[in-house]
Symmetry: D2
Subunit: 370 residues, 4 copies
């Protein structure tokens, strides 16, 4: 299948790496061919074409939509453009792989999800932290009852890329879709629901820590989006929890962490060391109990596709390859989509529910949101 | 000065160890003599007297109050008795050292604080985690601006002593003063304010995970106190934070942890390894930055009183000794009381504010509470 | 340039992944084309050709040597065949990339190195742990004097793949080139010299822990190779150290660790978390000192080629890609070979010196060995 | 029983703390009374008497020997004086508690051990790291076969108190009994034999890193003692191991660490976190295995004497209290001496065997040394 990629930034590059790796690592039911590179202008697209090994380049993403040879549109363009691009791709009958956040507003995301479902095309949103074999393991352990009844959850996604008070006003500070919660809290929410199932109620508190930043024209701009958001989350399985999004956590580069406590056992995890999962087994002998460090290995598929020996570790780009393999298998009909547009809409809905809760100081129901 | 101790349980024993150690370790302005042991009945008191090396024993705590030789009343009796005992001691002009929680209700605690202030006696509540040299260091680093502007705080106190759903209904499940928040969340709140200063607003969420437990008579009892409480906390210094109390955290024995993020640096700490403090210095050379593990040593007073070499580590009972040294110096007029009844009342007030917030689903102001 | 690969096992696969990734990640001066796959028989080669995306397959590795279109021979065949294959490739004027160990005997390795030097072809031996950006950082820190005078070194490579006493007798137990020291101790030695420079003297102690194992024919065989080897190492820079190789370290999957102590600072590292390096800076303020966890990021080239954000982590296969990029740049004449046949010979020589030392109970000089 | 203490430095103070704590924490068969303080001169002794709460002081240690009321002589004087003091005490029929090293030479230590045995008095040498409940646990796990056949051992004791090349020449640099091996390597050796049983053969390598230091008179002195010693150790149980002593390990304050690998499981430990023991159980389910962090708690006697709840942690001075309780029980005849003069001699003998090995470059037999 032929892939047209829109956007050549950080995520565009990660997608290219992911496709390249997936092809080698997995025995995929579909062969992907990186055909056409689209970017904001032809010069950028040409540069990326060369760097990434595409056949063609264009400065107009609509060329990809109109090209009948292209089967899959891969969108890593700015968030505000996702909707238009994805709807056009869906209308043209193409499968769509879109970076997160799926759209600026949940209503847009839902429109996109419904369009894809109506058209029968397959979709994938880039929530690649979920593709980690150790997260699959955690999810299975929880689902199989190894932890007993799930009591509580503590999740966080904290980094420090906005911690400098003299840092510039960027597109991420734009009230339309910006803020720590939307940008990285979305990952924390996705992980929470991936592991424990639906969140049914949220109470949020958002705070802007650095109220004014200078934009690229030198003007001071008011920042209205959140730098930190805390939230309480009630889960449908009865567990209670909290989730934090924080992009001013000085010294943290990838604190995508969780702790899950159950009646029979517990888990904790940090994305800073994402080839490890810590497990406490309450039924271990008294006096010899303790949290164990489980290291990723061939017992944790698809780690073994990358390396036959334990302890060697997979990297961030490998998570992207796993995501692409999942998408390939979904297109081939072997599995349901690992994280489709409806799932992407779900995360947007949670983000908006927390924002509403924070603004209005009320609990917001998140059980039924479609 | 002569000390009368009420109660010979876990905490009574820890106090005795603390006094014994403090005498040797510190050059205290006051010499304490462990005179009389009081317990619920004479037999228990006699046993404790022998074990702990007291001169006298009594089954009636009022004997201590009435003994003019006794200068200090040390209360480690059940929480519900604290008020009556402390007020009697204060009325008799004695200094009072009381285990936490100071009282069942904040109003009681305030009455006790006012009585002590009026009588001019010195008081101390047992919040010994605060006595850790590494917490003093953290507080000083924050106060001196080493972390810059404080952005956010994450605090937790989690253990697992109530995680077993078949565990019995105990006095800690009694609605009068019981629950995870009151029992151990109080420690997390004390640490939060010790480090960052006053909390001005809270939003809480309390949850009972195990709704029924069997009492010692074999009857099933409804549990109405919280097993887990999450809370948002706004600080007067502008920081935003969260605090969690959890006594069903399977596998955790002493997760009294915090993380503090500032514009120039950050700290994190775990009571599980309380001789260590982790520090990120944002002004370290790029590419060579990272959280440092600072180990307790003579540079962190009063560690050096226990051991002249770094890395040897102090223990839990040593924290008690530091607390007692502080109390001795407060009695001698050298310093203000490290954690007096008013401070104990403050923590009770925060607990009640969070409970109210949780019940009524509203933010509760905690700035002025007297 | 066209690549012919010999061998489709664990390492063959890792090489294929490495070439695929390197092409995308680096702006390499040379484009590699995976042309022909050779394996022990045609059927195996055909399977690997399909799986790995080669154009041709052959059951005779000499076909690769004889193919004038092939520029690079990549050898991941059994160790005993390396010499014959490499010498043939060199004779045919091809560049050679060979997995470790370069040869069974150091004399063979030297013969190979000399042949390559005489022929003017470029060579690379697969010591990919050295390709880690955090090891480059460590080496630079040591070389630049950040640690002051280097006092001592502690290195280990321990895994547990031979810990089961009922595990079979394998080719790795063959006295010709087998044993823990040759198999994984070679990595520990390579890291030691990469960081500190030449080892000038060694004293070794080798031990066979499981003296008999059953071979695949069901016969019990005596094991004469080492399961554990300890060694003392004196470095030309005056440092003293130790190195351990251990393939019976139950529970260890990748304990390729080192500690370096200098007069001004120290480092420690574990391959179990190879995106981290711990650094103690002796000139940090007293009371605030401690080992820092430096996380891999764009400040540590070539991490930034894989990901523009810190904390995302590279994986084992990415190390292979870095190795291949280095080889490409060496072929293009941009840099000297990162780890050529002479370096491979050096490691073999150290292994043999330690073996000789262990057998004869004498210190063995390793300063001049050619 | 009445105790006379000689020496009021770091270790004298630690002993006083230990006695005070032991009295409260343990139900000891013997009550100790700290009677007389002896130091190098009367003024020092008087100061210590006041600080430590003794009844009497003397500037002549022989007064303690001659005092018929004193039952136990506790020696924390300079190493060179241990022998004369201990022999005098033994001759006077007193029990002797002596800090390590027991004597300057092993022959002296043996003479002291034999004298005590002949006199029938009880002796104790201060190897308090062995008193850690987690070490008792480790020893029991090894002895009971939980780890299967013991394969290998890695031990180290590294600190940095001599890492500064400008640090002064001290009594620890005196060839008579000085050096890293004698000073702290002795601890590493004691732990090794405590856990695995007798070492039967050693090969050592000692190195002086900083060859000249200025003494207190301002003169440069040659340093001939070791700054770092590495050693191979063969154990009578068939295990092979290594031990390192290093007092120039910049950044390390208490790296008294070990790793033990067995056929069924493994352990590792660091004195930097001495309330923890890491355990790998090879029979845990595949895919869920990993090293567990066992935290000290009431399941690990005598932790429960200090605190009834797990996770609270004991400190360095508490280890001294455990040592004293053991000595009390040995005096009472309840147990054999935990670490008597013969055991102290054993460690001295190992130290000398390693020194001899290092000097002569030969393996030295350590199986039978009396």
């Amino acid at each position: 299948m032929k892939v047209g990629l829109i956007g050549s930034g950080f995520m565009g590059q990660a997608h290219v790496f992911g496709f390249a790796t997936a092809q080698r690592v997995f025995n995929m039911p579909i062969t992907f061919e990186m055909t056409t590179m689209a970017d904001a202008n032809l010069a950028m697209a040409e540069r990326a074409k060369e760097a990434f090994g595409f056949s063609k380049a264009t400065g107009d993403w609509r060329d990809l939509i109109n090209d009948p040879d292209i089967d899959i549109i891969d969108i890593t363009a700015p968030n505000a453009l996702h909707k238009e691009m994805a709807l056009a791709a869906i209308a043209a009958g193409k499968h769509v792989y879109c970076e997160k956040p799926l759209a600026v507003l949940a209503t847009d995301a839902l429109e996109m999800a419904k369009a894809a479902e109506a058209a029968g095309v397959k979709t994938q949103v880039g929530f690649n932290y979920l593709m980690n074999p150790m997260l699959s393991l955690a999810r299975e352990m929880i689902a199989s009852g190894k932890l007993g009844e799930i009591y509580s959850y503590r999740g966080v996604h904290a980094e420090d890329y906005m911690a400098d008070p003299n840092g510039p006003f960027t597109f991420r500070h734009d009230p339309a879709g910006g803020g720590a919660l939307a940008d990285i809290g979305s990952h924390a929410l996705a992980t929470a629901e991936y592991l424990l199932g639906p969140i049914v109620q949220v109470m949020g508190q958002s705070k802007t820590l650095i109220p004014r930043r200078r934009d690229r024209y030198g003007d001071m701009r008011d920042v209205t989006v959140d730098d930190v958001t805390h939230c309480f989350a009630e889960f449908s399985n009865g567990a209670t929890g909290s989730v934090e999004a924080n992009w001013c956590a000085t010294g943290r580069t990838m604190q995508h962490d969780f702790e899950v406590y159950g009646s029979k056992g517990s888990l904790y995890f940090s994305q800073e060391r994402f080839n490890e999962l810590y497990y406490f087994n309450g039924s271990d002998t008294a006096g010899l109990r303790g949290f164990r460090r489980i290291e990723a290995g061939p017992d944790h598929p698809p780690y073994g596709n990358f390396c036959v020996a334990p302890g060697h570790q997979i990297g961030f780009n490998d998570l992207k390859a796993i995501e692409i393999n999942g998408f390939a298998n979904a297109i081939a009909g072997n599995i349901s989509e690992p994280f489709n547009f409806r799932a992407g809409w779900r995360i947007q809905s949670l983000v908006e529910a927390i924002q509403k809760s924070s603004t209005e100081n009320i609990w917001v129901d998140t059980e039924v949101m479609a």
